[in-house]
């Protein structure tokens, strides 16, 4: 039995302890904002916050999550999240949209540690998130815009 919090609520999981957090979130908790894209920590579509840090949930066995706080796209809150999502909408970042939950989770975590990221900071924090639609230019722009609005 694994106990953890998901978006602030306590959760228990008594299935196969090897089950990746991704499938616990999607199949058992029915929260589908967190996506599957590769299953091998290559694409970032499954990015969640685990105790405040970005985590590829597809390679995180649920047994490792014991006692942790998990936040998904459905549960992100705070000034950074608001600024990021606003900036995303303002310049229409998404195309197909499938990667965008993961992108936003990474971007929010970046701003939480680095309120005024440089292009190099953005490359460092976001290079693990693939967007096959290649919306990267707007992702970069939106992160800068979000940082600006938080400062202002």
């Amino acid at each position: 039995m694994v106990t953890f919090t998901l978006n602030g609520e306590e959760r228990r999981f008594d299935g196969d302890p090897e089950t990746p957090l991704l499938w616990v979130i999607r199949d058992f908790e029915k929260l589908t904002g967190t996506k599957y894209g590769c299953g091998v920590a290559q694409c970032g579509a499954c990015t969640v916050h685990l105790d405040g840090m970005t985590r590829r949930s597809c390679v995180t066995p649920i047994s490792m999550v014991e006692g942790s706080e998990v936040v998904t796209i459905e549960g992100i809150q705070g000034a950074e999240a608001e600024a990021v999502q606003k900036a995303w909408v303002a310049i229409d970042v998404p195309q197909c949209g499938y990667c965008q939950s993961g992108q936003i989770m990474s971007a929010v975590a970046l701003l939480q540690t680095t309120p005024k990221p440089t292009d190099a900071d953005i490359d460092g924090a976001m290079a693990g998130n693939i967007c096959r639609c290649a919306t990267y230019q707007r992702i970069r722009q939106a992160i800068h815009d979000a940082a600006d609005t938080m400062e202002g």
Binding site: R11, R12, F13, D14, G15, D16, E18, T19, P20, W23, R26, D27, F28, E29, K30, L31, T32, G33, T34, K35, Y36, G37, C38, G39, V40, Q42, C43, A45, T72, I73, E74, Q85, W88, V89, D92, V93, P94, Q95, C96, G97, Y98, C99, Q100, S101, I104, I122, D123, A127, N129, I130, C131, R132, C133, A134, T135, Y136, Q137, R138, I139, R140
Partner: protein
């Protein structure tokens, strides 16, 4: 364990954050659901139909039924814009939803069946939806005239309000919708003069952006049904191999695995949850029968293709006298062999479908594909259920790039076989993993080109002789235009031109990939031309301009991009620039790429300038986004990607670690300019792709002196 409990009935579907997808699809009545599927959640009450494309609700929301799937190129927003324009609606009241699958009512006017592809969504819908909007407007006006007892001619409509100035009467659309829906539609609705457009041509937010920025947008993989099984299929690692025998003991011992069945495509594992299905699949022991498998390597296939050139191919172009021109006095000749690898589309969401059998035996499919009618037919044939008993519930697709457009719908055939083998008692979600996707075939075929060019004493390009060998995507026994498009119709005034195509037989399923034939012909023509121009001592832009003569739209984008990049001006130390111009799907695009050699000896693309002429620019912001995306998608492919068949035909690549995608740190800054135009709008999903490869390769040749003859580029860099 605490999990949500759902209503026990199979009719209750939970998708994403608690959105219930109704399944009773009586004609013209849609269950409430997200704004992206069916009808907007916030649209209250009855939806009044205004023919096939427009629904108006009492709360004033206008829903456009999109006959095209939304997979990122923005058709939901574009189609809603066209209707809103002629309807004189306010943008805030517009919504879009997937139309039901219907090859007649919702056919793509360019294809003859319902389908999305070839960058046709806006082009084929433009007139049709302008008329749909104008028709609905006329019906609203007629209803108002009757209701108010005033002449229709005195009624005006603007930003969602219907008004009669003299009487001071005014109304929203919703209040009149019920009556208006019963009015006789005008035989020939009057369309606006494009000069009076208020929405078309202006940026406005996309309808799906908020849902896609909050995790609320629902894709096929997000559909859950009560009691649903997850199925994954073990596929062979060689194309054409079949199951000889399977030992499923270990797989069946995995907790959560419910069943294992052999299907024509491989071995299906059914489980209560995704992880169990994956774990079960990994535990299968399968012997494959290779007797019908393609066992040649990519290298061998390319060699076999080249040997075809000794024979006659299919004529695609034959102008002037190529042989004589090559024999001309003092002529300089160059020759090039080029190799283009198999490419997987790798959309972010791998293929998937949810199939459900209802109590009455009818079938619901939840999936996102470009040819819904083909899906319906595939399900019907596999399950033996009449098409009238099958409903396709179109979902958003997490990208496609051509992958979800298949005649005969083989992926749906697989899903249906898997469903059938399960006994169909429980709903089944059939999902592909990324490995299934990269190794699943339906690639942009491998092509081999051989080109000879001749320059005369005066420095003019006088002859071009070009042969292309590869699989016929359209499975033709004669010339397949899609193998030679972009080469046989090249816009340059070269007096002697010969282009021949060769169809090849390979056991690897082939498919169109974002921009189809132009993916390789654009590269071959634009890199080879660039070499010829350099050999002739000509500037890459000036030389092209001279050869484009009266090709005004090519000239327009080329001149524009040269001006944007200040072509001929100073270039930062260590960098070089390359240019390419190419028309595809009746859209004209020119791009200039600025490139350097990175620490590892590989190309680093810093900046791309891009000019596009796609006729009337419906929504400039969406157009720019598509060009940016096209550049990034095409760039990733030419830099990194190939699916390779190794020894014995074994597929080598498997996931994003060896089938690389462009990442944010590799994305150049892309600056896009749109040429103002009053021509009918043409597509923008694909045309950004073809020029980026040659623009980068041309810069690379300037940097290194080495022409690019083989893709991906990364192979050259490391060799």
């Amino acid at each position: 364990m605490t999990i949500h409990q759902f209503a026990p009935s199979r009719r209750a579907f939970l998708a994403g954050a608690g959105l219930v997808i109704g399944v009773a699809l009586a004609p013209r009545v849609f269950a409430a659901t997200s704004s992206l599927n069916g009808v907007p959640a916030d649209a209250q009450g009855q939806q009044y139909p205004f023919q096939a494309f427009v629904r108006i609700a009492p709360d004033d929301t206008v829903t456009v039924l999109a006959k095209h799937i939304e997979m990122g190129q923005g058709p939901y927003t574009g189609l809603a814009t066209i209707v809103a324009e002629e309807l004189d609606a306010d943008w805030s009241q517009m919504r879009a939803a997937a139309a039901p699958a219907d090859d007649d009512v919702y056919k793509n006017l360019a294809f003859g069946i319902q389908g999305t592809g070839g960058s046709t969504s806006i082009a084929n819908s433009y007139e049709q939806l302008r008329k749909a909007g104008a028709t609905a407007r006329a019906m609203l006006v007629a209803a108002a005239a009757e209701e108010w007892g005033v002449p229709a001619a005195e009624i005006t409509v603007s930003a969602g309000r219907i008004s009669h100035a003299a009487s001071g009467k005014t109304s929203g659309f919703g209040a009149l919708a019920a009556k208006a829906a019963t009015m006789t539609p005008p035989a020939e609705p009057v369309l606006k003069d494009p000069r009076d457009f208020v929405l078309i041509g202006k940026d406005r937010p996309k309808l799906d952006t908020v849902a896609k920025s909050t995790g609320k947008a629902i894709f096929t993989l997000d559909i859950h049904a009560d009691d649903m099984l997850i199925a994954t299929v073990a596929h062979p690692d060689r194309f054409g191999a079949t199951v000889a025998s399977v030992d499923d003991t270990a797989a069946k011992a995995v907790p959560g695995v419910v069943d294992v069945k052999v299907v024509p495509q491989g071995v299906a594992v059914y489980a209560d949850n995704t992880f169990a299905a994956l774990k079960g699949r990994a535990a299968l022991k399968i012997d494959w029968d290779l007797s019908k498998a393609e066992q040649r390597s990519s290298e061998k296939i390319a060699e076999d293709y080249r040997s075809l050139f000794a024979k006659d191919g299919f004529k695609a172009a034959d102008k002037g006298d190529v042989e004589a021109a090559f024999k001309g006095d003092g002529v300089t000749r160059i020759e090039a062999d080029m190799l283009f690898p198999f490419l997987a589309h790798a959309p972010m969401e791998p293929l998937d479908a949810v199939l459900v059998r209802r109590e009455d035996g009818s079938i619901d499919s939840y999936n996102g594909a470009q040819f819904p009618g083909q899906d319906k037919q595939a399900i019907s044939e596999v399950l033996g259920v009449d098409q009238s008993q099958i409903r396709i519930n179109m979902q958003l697709a997490g990208g496609s790039f051509g992958r979800r457009a298949q005649f005969g719908s083989p992926y749906m055939r697989e899903a249906a076989e898997v469903f059938k083998a399960s006994g169909m008692a429980r709903p089944v979600k059939h999902m592909w993993t990324r490995e299934d996707d990269i190794r699943g075939g339906f690639y942009r075929p491998l092509y081999v080109h051989r080109i000879r060019g001749a320059i005369d004493k005066a420095g003019e390009i006088v002859a071009w002789d070009h042969v292309i060998a590869g699989q016929s995507i359209m499975k033709k026994l004669e010339l397949d235009e899609s193998s030679v498009e972009g080469a046989s119709d090249m816009p340059y005034a070269i007096p002697n031109l010969r282009v021949f195509g060769y169809n090849t037989e390979v056991g690897v399923p082939a498919l169109w990939w974002r921009s189809v034939g132009h993916t390789h012909t654009g590269f071959a023509v634009e890199t080879f031309l660039d070499e010829l121009l350099q050999k002739a001592g000509k500037d890459a832009v000036e030389g092209r301009i001279a050869l484009l003569k009266d090709q005004n739209r090519h000239l327009g984008v080329l001149k524009k991009v040269a001006e944007m990049a200040d072509w001929g001006g100073p270039v930062p130390e260590g960098r070089q620039r390359g240019v390419a111009v190419h028309k595809s799907f009746n859209t004209y695009v020119a791009e200039i790429a600025e490139v350097s050699v990175d620490e590892l000896g590989a190309p680093k693309v810093h900046k791309v300038w891009c000019a596009v002429d796609c006729g009337v620019a419906l929504n400039p912001n969406v157009i720019k986004a598509q060009l940016e995306g096209g550049v990034g998608y095409g760039l990733g492919a030419i830099l990194f990607d190939q699916v390779e068949l190794g020894e014995g035909g074994k597929i080598i690549q498997s996931n994003f670690h060896d089938y690389r995608s462009l990442r944010i740190n590799e994305m150049p800054h892309v600056e896009v300019a749109i040429i103002p135009s009053t021509e009918a709008p043409t597509g923008v999903g694909e045309p950004g792709v073809p020029p980026i490869g040659p623009a980068v390769a041309n810069a690379w040749r300037q940097l290194t002196g080495a022409p690019v003859r083989r893709l991906p580029l990364v192979n050259i860099a490391v060799s």
